[in-house]
Subunit: 181 residues, 2 copies
């Protein structure tokens, strides 16, 4: 068989659900805490997988180079809701030391929840904007990492193009008040 006929006979490619993670840490420019991540690269993963994030490269698919991060900080896993034909994702906090905040919901050790299509996940000084773009395939999905130029908690700026000088003219990032939780 020629290359052309195997191309013609191959299964029709399905669009994959893309799980995009826009990440931010206040020291990301000095200490390269995100050096374990490949930015803008799309990675295809099986829906059988449970994807761990944390410090240990033995236990985690995506690593954070930071001693303040737990060996396994949290896990993400795809599933299918009963009333929905596309992939959804569940998050579980696997850190005994640090709470995980999903928007305003606090998850302790081993607490889990289904993620909304767009949310901000935080632990320690880390901020992850998690956004799901629905695809057709149930068997595979892909991840994509983006580095945020500044804190994601400046909601009104996030999603706007970065000005040419790379610097927003407005005030400093406003941290959310811890007392809210």
């Amino acid at each position: 068989m020629t290359t052309m006929s195997s191309f013609e006979d191959a299964d029709t490619e399905e669009k994959l659900t893309c799980f995009q993670l826009t990440v931010y840490h206040p020291n990301q420019d000095n200490n390269n805490v995100f050096q374990g991540l490949r930015f803008f690269n799309r990675e295809r993963l099986s829906s059988m997988e449970v994807v761990n994030f944390g410090r240990s490269s033995n236990l985690c698919h995506y690593t954070l180079q930071d001693k303040q991060v737990s060996r396994v900080q949290f896990s993400l896993q795809p599933f299918k809701q009963f009333n929905n034909s596309v992939l959804s994702f569940e998050i579980k906090n696997l850190s005994k030391k640090t709470s995980l905040l999903v928007d305003n919901m606090e998850l302790g050790y081993l607490n889990k929840m289904d993620l909304p299509g767009r949310c901000i996940v935080r632990f320690g000084e880390y901020q992850f904007l998690m956004e799901k773009e629905d695809g057709e395939s149930l068997e595979y999905f892909e991840t994509r990492f983006v580095l945020a130029p500044r804190s994601l908690l400046e909601e009104r700026h996030y999603g706007m193009p970065v000005p040419e000088n790379g610097f927003y003219s407005s005030t400093l990032p406003t941290e959310m008040d811890e007392n809210e939780y």
Copy 2:
């Protein structure tokens, strides 16, 4: 240090949550579908783990020796409910071919649910009675497998001691009507 003082200094042992699985398959006596399981043995597992059940020994912690079983049939994983201090378990169907019935709830491919403390899980001709006995530890739990002498769907008999002759005097096991689902 002597053995005695290391015994005295060791962390206080916490009682582990025991997840007991009583299993049944109509051909369990002829084809040894359960030869991958060690009955009555308690196995300690970390709460970090996702425990897969299926045909593939590469992908699964507990294997079923049966070509009708998917390479990964389902996964079990511990978690902690927000309002509860003990471990709970979630089940997810990872088989594209076979539905998983948790009591009367049907789970398709990638559907998941939180397990009640006692339930019957079925797929194909397999029946698993899953029972949780609460412990104190969150970090570890244990599993224990028991082989059922007869179908678990005979609810009124299950849990009764086996008569001395090893044979119940009543009628044959009554299969549940498929139309109920």
